[in-house]
């Protein structure tokens, strides 16, 4: 995983760091404690996998990326310096890894992003069978639109809408200014809206 960047030097304030329990888990992982690593993975596997799924569009690649990221983490967790939140550092690693995978896939074959959606959804409370059908339709439309979206736009939208990251956190994950986050989010939302409407 060659393109991974490290926790930014310039994160500000201790309030932005991970909670104490999580910090302790990371420290134990650095000391070689597999139980701590197991706990950390269980805490994050859902989001690591779903962010990767959102960015890559299929369960196989998402699952591969999630496993790669955790294996990489076990060897390289010493690079985490407790200067940013652990979650933003991890999301940065995951999204960079997804971009690498897309680059690699693009070089090997040129067909557009495939949408394989045999994977079970997280159950959502649906009042009626009709609304369940509607939900399935929505997801279909959305995934097709997301697949056509620019890489940068898809990444920022998934991190913001799915994980609800703040502008500050987004600027940490994406390595750009808060002003850039604001304008890119607007462009991304406009572009997605256009794709869904057409």
């Amino acid at each position: 995983m060659e393109h991974v960047s490290i926790a930014p030097l310039y994160s500000r304030g201790a309030d932005r760091l991970s909670n104490p329990i999580e910090r302790e888990l990371v420290r134990r992982c650095q000391d070689g404690d597999k139980q701590a690593m197991d706990a950390l993975m269980r805490q994050y596997q859902h989001w690591v996998y779903n962010i990767a799924f959102g960015m890559l569009g299929n369960p196989e690649d998402a699952s591969d990326v999630a496993q790669d990221v955790f294996l990489w983490l076990w060897e390289n967790i010493g690079q985490f310096q407790f200067r940013s939140r652990f979650s933003t550092w991890l999301y940065r690693i995951v999204t960079n890894r997804c971009l690498n995978v897309k680059d690699r896939n693009k070089r090997h074959h040129t067909e557009p992003m495939e949408i394989l959606d045999s994977q079970p959804w997280v159950p959502v409370d649906t009042a009626s069978p009709e609304s369940a059908v509607l939900l399935a339709e929505q997801r279909e439309i959305l995934q097709r639109a997301l697949a056509k979206l620019k890489e940068d736009y898809r990444r920022i939208l998934i991190l913001r809408e799915m994980r609800n990251l703040s502008y500050d956190e987004l600027s940490e994950v994406l390595g750009c200014s808060v002003g850039r986050v604001k304008s890119r989010l607007y462009e991304a939302r406009k572009a997605l809206r256009k794709l869904i409407l057409t």
């Binding site: 030097l9 650095q30 197991d38 690591v48 496993q67």
Partner: protein, 173 residues
């Protein structure tokens, strides 16, 4: 409506509650009277909900990884930034802006308080720079020198005289 574009630029930040109260009020006032912008806002909200609902059940990733984890001792913790980090820090726009500001301050300080001059020269230079504003300055006026009266062509030195006088009074006691 005259300001759709300006409002639409703010809609995304409005959705994220990143506007200050005044900006919010302007956006809300416009949304209440403009169908096009309200429609855009509605679509942004709907798409946000759709993406938030785009969650799949996770396969047993932690179990699979745990089975593959090699044993290892403590890893070396990095206390110092890597080259990549330093490079990113140095090339941040705010770092550049801070460096530029410091450079300007140093240059200005050097001109005002040039350490190679005797100390009284520094004060003279300071006064000259500041009295220039009240004296004739073609860059600051759209009136040409020729259109001014004869007495205006020579720089007015009364301001400087006054300053000297005031300084004398001040330093006298």
């Amino acid at each position: 409506m005259m300001n759709h574009r300006r409002i639409q630029n703010q809609l995304s930040a409005y959705l994220d509650s990143e506007l200050n109260p005044e900006e919010r009020a302007v956006v809300e006032a416009h949304l209440s009277i403009c169908d096009a912008c309200a429609q855009m806002m509605g679509d942004f909200q709907q798409n946000r909900q759709w993406i938030a609902a785009l969650e799949h059940e996770v396969p047993p990733i932690a179990d699979r990884v745990l089975a593959q984890l090699p044993d290892r001792g403590p890893v070396r913790r990095q206390f110092f930034p890597s080259f990549d980090e330093l490079r990113r820090w140095v090339f941040r726009p705010s770092t550049g802006a801070a460096a530029a500001a410091v450079t300007v301050c140093l240059i200005v300080a050097f001109i005002y308080f040039n350490p190679t001059r005797p100390p009284e020269d520094a004060l003279d230079l300071y006064l000259t720079v500041h009295t220039e504003h009240v004296a004739y300055n073609p860059l600051r006026s759209n009136v040409t020198a020729d259109s001014l009266g004869e007495d205006m062509k020579t720089p007015d030195t009364t301001a400087e005289d006054n300053t000297d006088f005031l300084l004398e009074v001040h330093l006298g006691d």
